[in-house]
């Protein structure tokens, strides 16, 4: 018999690494034609940070997105970054890149002020132009300011930014502030449990993240959908365990080989296992974040598994305490429940 159930779960997660210094740094230089080169150790493993960092630079320097090239994550050439983990890249990388942009802007304003015969503090950036706030006649394209600075005033429009996220390592008494900021996620699922076979199927999945300002909503959706699907896999079928038995496993030197080692046994979900996924972006404004952004990273995979476990309980009244909820485990618990 097939039984339906519904479950929800929510979670919070730290932005930036907890209890440890985890800086990011970036070099930004505007070339004489107004194009911008960005170098940073922040590594884009597919989450879209190169895109988002380029968007931030474009916004900050008011140049078109296409003019910004990001060169990232080359340890022999790019400045330091702690790594792509703990949902820190948009936030930390963004702050580092923006700090570098501020220096670039300072140089450009100096040059523009000399050229326009005014003071830097009267000038502001507006859609590719540097404009005198009190005398609109006085304006200069940003690219021209870059060229003038470089060739006339002998000052390169470049900046070096760094950002250390705030944290106070938690002490033995549990006092401290582990991370700079936190973000939130929730999942709701409808599942169907086949009481004859133990097979659990996720029918519908709603996933929502509070990512601060969604700088690129399409990328955030991608994170939500991908995270959801990973979590469905972990909840229902993907298992990895140390391999080794008896005395070997008891020994303090036991260095487990994890199994399975290939994807024919580690069955990740395919197009045919995907439930109907609905993503929702809950925008908030993070005051410390770059343009109000927080993150949309690992958290997207965090609350689906508990939601599925809750839904299984709702459907058939059993509690799965050890993931994945394979048909064998579900059937065994159903039998135990009856006896």
């Amino acid at each position: 018999m097939k039984k339906q159930g519904r479950g929800i779960a929510g979670c919070m997660y730290s932005l930036t690494v907890m209890n440890a210094p985890n800086p990011c740094s970036a070099y930004v230089q505007m070339r004489e034609d107004g194009s911008v080169n960005v170098q940073t150790g922040a590594c884009d493993i597919g989450q879209g940070s190169n895109t988002v960092l380029a968007m931030m630079v474009a916004e900050s320097l008011t140049v078109p997105f296409e003019k910004v090239s990001v060169y990232s994550a080359d340890t022999s050439a790019t400045p330091y970054d702690f790594g792509t983990l703990s949902s820190r890249v948009t936030y930390t990388g963004g702050r580092a890149v923006l700090a570098a942009c501020e220096q670039v802007k300072g140089v450009l304003l100096e040059a523009a002020a000399k050229q326009l015969k005014t003071r830097p503090d009267r000038l502001s950036f507006k859609a590719g132009m540097i404009v005198d706030k009190y005398d609109a006649q006085k304006q200069l394209p940003v690219a021209a300011a870059a060229a003038i600075s470089q060739f006339v005033h002998r000052k390169l429009p470049m900046g070096m930014g760094e950002f250390y996220p705030f944290n106070v390592p938690v002490d033995a008494q549990g006092h401290g502030e582990p991370a700079d900021s936190y973000y939130y996620h929730a999942t709701a699922v409808d599942v169907e449990v086949d009481t004859d076979t133990g097979v659990v199927e996720v029918k519908k999945l709603y996933t929502a993240v509070d990512c601060g300002k969604a700088l690129n909503p399409m990328i955030v959706e991608g994170q939500l959908e991908g995270g959801a699907m990973q979590a469905v896999g972990w909840a229902l079928r993907e298992d990895m365990y140390p391999y080794g038995t008896g005395a070997e496993a008891e020994s303090p030197d036991f260095n487990p080989n994890f199994r399975p080692i290939n994807i024919s046994d580690y069955a990740i979900a395919t197009t045919l296992d995907t439930p109907e996924i609905h993503g929702a972006i809950v925008e908030t404004h993070e005051g410390e974040g770059p343009f109000g952004a927080k993150a949309a990273g690992e958290i997207c995979a965090n609350s689906a598994a508990p939601a599925i476990v809750n839904a299984i309980h709702d459907a058939v009244g059993i509690w799965i305490s050890d993931l994945p909820a394979t048909p064998e485990k579900v059937l065994k618990l159903l039998r135990d429940q009856q006896s």
């Binding site: 493993i45 597919g46 989450q47 879209g48 399409m218 990328i219 959706e221 991608g222 959908e225 991908g226 995270g227 959801a228 699907m229 990973q230 290939n262 994807i263 024919s264 990740i268 979900a269 395919t270 197009t271 045919l272 995907t274 996924i277």
Partner: protein, 187 residues
Amino acid sequence: MKLTIRFKLNGKAVSAAITPEMTLLTVLKDVMLVNSVKRACVSGECGACTVIVDGKAMNACLILAMTIEDKNVETLENLGAPDRLHPLQKAFVEMGASQCGFCTPGFIMAAKAFLDENPDPTEEQIRVALSGNLCRCTGYVKPVKAVQQAIQEMKDIESGLTPVQAIQGAARIMQGHSAEELNIQIH
């Protein structure tokens, strides 16, 4: 033992010096230096190495190179270039259907071979056709939608709309408006 095989790679007659145990994947990646073909599981499980051999999508890691003598091998390089993307490539870019991108060439080649045979599939048929391609990043939502958008665009190009109109039309249809409502002719 060295052998020479001759085959067509993206329409061009080529030859390669191989040893008998080499797979098509090894020949494409290491001998012909084709960039798009990805080496991942090397056991026929993931589809990252998908290429089209005589019109059929195949896992290059499972084909012995010797068996492709005189055959026609097509890789992603044959589909388009940055300034003239194939509708599938364009749709993958526009929909954000690629994250780390490791699975993407395989997905696009699998979809291409499938659409060549079945230009008007249902979503279910698309999912079945792509079920041999694994993706860890996207949750398959956007890749499947991208294939649907590409189908729409290919139909629109056939029906004589300008590419821009066609893309706008497809985008609106994806957002739930009907073609009639928008006065777009589709057959």
